[in-house]
């Protein structure tokens, strides 16, 4: 069983469209994250949720809206897609949200490659 699964793996869409990416973790973790990896492979945190509560919200356009229906799921909805949104989006989860300890390992999904045309 995949620990952190994201769907879809690939997403090709037109500028201006609205799209969603789904993420589910079966590890029983309390914290989930969304990261964006650009074409230069730079990985930057976007959001972090702990027990369905938003705890980190980086400088991300408000066209991006995360939603956590329960602590096993964290979805990402993007409105009015722009060319600059093209990137690979990674979902991750960890046992808790407190730092990078020996126990607080982040497990990443395989990524969703978004291409905006």
């Amino acid at each position: 069983d995949t620990a952190v699964s994201q769907t879809p793996k690939y997403l090709v869409t037109q500028m201006g469209n609205d799209k969603s990416i789904k993420c589910e973790q079966n590890l029983g973790h309390d914290t989930m994250y969304w990261y964006k990896q650009d074409s230069k492979k730079f990985l930057k945190i976007m959001f972090s949720y702990n027990n369905k509560e938003l705890i980190i919200n980086e400088t991300v356009p408000n066209r991006f809206s995360p939603k956590s229906p329960d602590k096993a799921h964290l979805n990402l909805h993007i409105n009015s897609l722009e060319l600059g949104d093209s990137a690979v989006y990674f979902c991750a989860s960890s046992q808790d949200g407190v730092g990078l300890t020996f126990k607080n390992i982040q497990y990443f999904g395989a990524g969703t490659r978004l291409s905006v045309l």
Binding site: V4, Y33, Y35, K40, K41, F42, L43, K44, I45, S48, I55, I56, F90, A92, G97, V98, G99, L100, T101, F102, I105, Q106, F108, G109, A110, G111
Partner: protein
């Protein structure tokens, strides 16, 4: 904004060679991790270091956390083609222990 600069950005070496990747910052981190990412996959954790000056070994990989907890290095001995991938360092700091990833080092080991 905290920044973790990795060097080199790209590295292409022959199998059997040794290499060192550096992760530097002007900020202090409470802990630091190294990840390896293969094409089409998410990053996978290699090691966590939390004490300044700490050295950890994972088979042919040696990780060191700087004394001031601002920098780290990854040394690979006798590199193998299976070591090929993107290596990322990541540091945690601040009240919410926000994770900042490094700029990445793309390693290619040629058989």
């Amino acid at each position: 904004t905290q920044l973790l600069e990795q060097s080199p950005q790209f590295l292409s070496i022959q199998e059997g060679e040794n290499l060192t990747v550096y992760c530097n910052s002007s900020s202090v981190f409470s802990s630091l991790q190294w990840y390896r990412q293969e094409p089409g996959e998410g990053p996978v954790l290699l090691v966590t270091v939390v004490t300044g000056g700490e050295v950890k070994k994972l088979k042919r990989l040696t990780f060191q956390f700087g004394d001031a907890r601002k920098d780290s290095s990854l040394h690979i001995t006798a590199a193998q083609p299976g070591d090929t991938g993107l290596y990322l360092c990541a540091g945690a700091s601040g009240g919410y222990q926000k994770v900042t990833f490094g700029t990445g080092t793309k390693l290619q080991v040629i058989p």
